[in-house]
Each structure stands twice: as structure tokens, then as C-alpha cells.
Symmetry: C2
Subunit: 133 residues, 2 copies
DNA sequence: GCTTGACCTTCCCATCATTGGAAGGCCCAG
DNA sequence: CTGGGCCTTCCAATGATGGGAAGGTCAAGC
């Protein structure tokens, strides 16, 4: 069994050592076994879990949802409908935020388009912010 | 001069009383004049500033950028190019985040589409997270 | 004038996920 | 046996906001 210190596990999983400790502290990860000197050690299974977490985070899942996904991963009796529900709820959140930011961007782009961007003070962007309709 | 307490100013501007105090604490707003009893009071000009801030926040500007925009608003010798540069930097940030989230959404939507969502455990979403390529 | 209730004040804490740093201990190569 | 690279824990900060406690102020009604 190849055993890794937290630094090696971090490098191998893409999760920083700081975060690995934090995930353990909040209960997302079980306490890692320690060497005599108190060092945490991680085996291949642990690395697999860390990569799972990393992937879930990369897809924008919160740590809370990531914990749920981990639970479902481990649960051989899971229903795929539970996983799908989590994913679709997250998709809906993403869509809502994207829509919100797109609206901001559209407004700003429209204002910036009409701004000369020269040495003069006149600026439709400032005018909009100031409420000069 | 109509003078408002912080609650009235909050209602009139859409910025919560908590946030008005916070903006003052971090220097985004100058210290408001106080009544004998220590209550903050806000005049029409202050309300205008608060609405400006509110609008900038609604467009997604950070408090730091909002401070810059306020400075430019007050500066009669501003160059509209400075305002435009701030806006375009923010547009670029928004675009970057939107792209990032869109990529997440596309991936998730693709995975969810192939998930049966029934009582069985088989699930392409979990498989992806687990790194089963 | 006094009470009552709505409002104000400051101060501290929580969120979410992550990073930074300080002080001190462990481990291995030279 | 020493140096330096890794590890440990603990504390603090980020950004923008909300929540709440303890206590002071104000205005209306009696």
C-alpha cells in the first residue's frame, strides 16, 4: 500500500493540503490515520475520494452538495434519481446566476457602447448610475 | 431640508441600514452627521449617493470599484475613458465567470441527460465524478 | 409628565471556501 | 547531528451581507 503524506495527496488530487485538513475538520472526510509523528497518511482510496471532491467542486457544487454526492457514491443502494435531482437543482442555480450576470453584462455593454471614452467628463455610464434618466 | 434617519434612508434608497453603517465604517461613505441623541441623519444628496451605490452594486460592481465610480462621479474633471475602462474590466470579469459557469452547466446538463433518474444506482453523473472514464 | 413601542446605537458572530502566516515538531539526506 | 523541507495546530483575513443582544432615543397617546 503506497501511503502519501498530505502534501503528496494534495499534489496527486489537486486539492490543497489546507483544504484537505479543512474537509476533515468539517467532517466531509473521515479523520486520516496518523503516523507516529502525527502526520496524516493517505492511501489510493483516499486519493480517489479527494479527486471526486475536486471534480465536484470544479463543477461548482457546494461543499454541502459535495458531501451528499459522496454519500450517494458510497451508497450502493442509491437511486440515480437522487443524484439527478441534486444535479438538476445545481443546474437551475447556475442558470439563474448566469441569467443575472448576463443581464448585468448586457446593460453595461449597452452603456459602454455609448460612452466616448475620451478626455471629456460626459459619460452615459455615470449618468445611469446617478439615475439621470 | 428634509432629514431622514437611517431607516428612512434605507427604505428610500434600497440599501439596508446595516449596509449604510458598514459603508460608512469602511470609508465608502463619509461619516453622517448625528442628532443630539447620536442618530445618523441623511439629506437628499446623501440619498442620491446611496441610490448610486445601490445601482452600481446591482450591476455587479465590487465595493472597491463602486468607490472608484463614486470618486469619478464627484470629479468634474474626470475622463469618460476612466469610467469606460472600469466598466469594460467589469464586463470582462462577468464574461469570464459566465463562461466558466456555462461550461459547468453544459457538462452537468449533458451528464444529467444520460441519467435515467430511477430507482437503480447506475448513474453517469456519479461515474463522471468518480473519474470512471 | 409618563409609558410604550418603534426606532436607533454599538458590538459580536455567522456565512462560504479558501488562503496566509506564525510557532513549533518531524523526518531524511548529507 | 544538522539543515531545510515537510508536517502539525491555531488564528486571522477575504467580500458583502444578515442576525441578534444590550442598551439608548424619540414621538405619540394617555
Amino acid at each position: 500500500m503506497s501511503m502519501n503524506t498530505i502534501g503528496a495527496a494534495a499534489k496527486a488530487s489537486g486539492v490543497s493540503a489546507k483544504m484537505i485538513r479543512y474537509y476533515e475538520a468539517i467532517g466531509l472526510l473521515p479523520p486520516a490515520p496518523r503516523s507516529e509523528g502525527g502526520y496524516r497518511h493517505y492511501g489510493p482510496t483516499d486519493l480517489h475520494v479527494l479527486r471526486f471532491i475536486r471534480r465536484a467542486r470544479d463543477l461548482g457544487f457546494s461543499l454541502e452538495n459535495t458531501a451528499q454526492l459522496l454519500r450517494l457514491w458510497r451508497d450502493r443502494d442509491r437511486s440515480s434519481s437522487e443524484v439527478k435531482a441534486l444535479a438538476e437543482a445545481h443546474i437551475a442555480e447556475l442558470r439563474a446566476k448566469i441569467d443575472e450576470m448576463s443581464a448585468m453584462m448586457r446593460t453595461l455593454a449597452h452603456l459602454a457602447e455609448h460612452c466616448h471614452g475620451d478626455n471629456r467628463p460626459d459619460c452615459p455610464i455615470i449618468d445611469d448610475l446617478a439615475g439621470c434618466h
